[in-house]
Amino acid sequence: MANQGRLIALEGTGGYALAQAAKRLQRQLREPRKPAPPVCTWDASGIFHEIREGARGIPGTSPRTLLLLYAADLAFRLRWQIRPALESGITVIAAPYLETAIGFGRAAGLSSSWLKDLLSFAPAANGCYRSPEGATSVAKMPKASDSFLEFGFLQLRNTDGRWNTDEIRAGFIAHLAGLENKGKCATVMALKPTK
């Protein structure tokens, strides 16, 4: 039987920063004479893309609905990408994974027990990292098409106006910082650029 691969979680607000962090992590985790670990990204199932395309003029969703959709997409990613890689002995980077959903949900006021129960079908990661959340240019800001958080904020802004997305974003970043302070995840640091 082949060795079980490792599941590495990479959490963050998404977009360019998360994609760059994933590349750095691939280089860090790459073993000699082996291909770089594959990166399993958000919305592999296309659920969010289809909703975004069809959502014009339709009221937005609540955080709870967004997280149910995230869980559905994650179930797809596990079935088609993550579990097959792990069973083949391949290390796989899930970017984002559980803590992005939990951080978003906690920042939006949902209970951590509900979030953990909802996502209990997903295996725990063998390691957890976060992307650096420093200042970035407008052109490199995450968009609703490449970030669960931004997709969620777009939906929340399209509801009855009771959601403060700036507060949720700050709460989300504080959640990841809290994990890092407890030693449960580490920021992916920049490596020397490769030629």
């Binding site: 659920i47 909703i51 339709i58 009221p59 969703t61 149910l68 869980a71 559905a72 509900w114």
Partner: protein, 224 residues
């Protein structure tokens, strides 16, 4: 002396909130669910019930299972290409349910409108449990739970449900539970799957005290 700072203020606010909730509850509309297997006649009876409520002067709105403008198209495409696992099937229907709860059902209830649901939470519990998912996890996925004021359960045997479905059409892939049974013939698969679904419904009917209606009689279903 105020021993606990802010205690009186918090108690006053709590009372105000409780009074507001009570006042809201007084004018809240009723949520009435129609549940049962396919071919049990619940849709026909739901339409007649809605007409009767209208004739009695009630404001009534209907909500149907898997019908939200936002999520239904996503589910429909995946059903067509048979791309859903049991978990994905469950989670997408739960998202659709939650979206309708937030945007249709709860606002209507708080306005005092009676909401008649053509399938509700118990459809999910029965079908998803029949697909092998744990009831405990399903109840958590669908939390916070909002129980209907009344549930009409249209009880038929697996044979009757299968015969009525077969008279009209072949059941679709997921309706027939072919994702679980692995039986190629849709009607054979339906018979196997609906037997499991009905067993789950019967258990729920006892626990949640449904009003059970014997729907074996042919006058329960539409003749048109």
């Amino acid at each position: 002396m105020n021993i606990i700072p802010g205690f009186e203020r918090r108690r006053r606010i709590s009372k105000q909130i409780a009074a507001l909730i009570e006042k809201r509850q007084e004018k809240r509309g009723l949520l009435i669910a129609f549940e049962g297997p396919d071919g049990s006649g619940k849709t026909t009876q739901r339409k007649l019930f809605k007409q009767w409520l209208h004739s009695e002067g009630h404001d009534v709105t209907t909500t149907k299972w898997n019908s939200s403008a936002l999520i239904k198209p996503v589910v429909k495409v995946r059903k067509q290409v048979r791309a859903l696992s049991a978990e994905e099937f469950c989670l997408l229907h739960a998202a659709d349910y939650r979206y309708r709860m937030d945007s249709e059902i709860l606002p209507a209830l708080w306005e005092g409108t009676t909401v008649v649901a053509d399938r509700f939470l118990f459809t999910a519990l029965a079908r998803d449990a029949a697909r092998g998912l744990e009831l405990d996890w399903l109840l958590k996925v669908y939390s916070p739970l909002f129980w209907p004021d009344l549930v009409f359960y249209f009880s038929v045997s697996p044979e009757t449900s299968s015969q009525r479905i077969a008279a009209d059409r072949d059941p679709s892939y997921y309706e027939a539970g072919q994702d679980i049974t692995q039986i190629d013939n849709p009607l054979q698969s339906y018979r196997t799957f609906i037997t499991r679904v009905i067993a789950e419904y019967e258990a729920l009917a006892g626990i949640f005290k449904f009003v059970t209606i014997d729907a074996e009689q042919s006058d329960m279903i539409s003749t048109g």
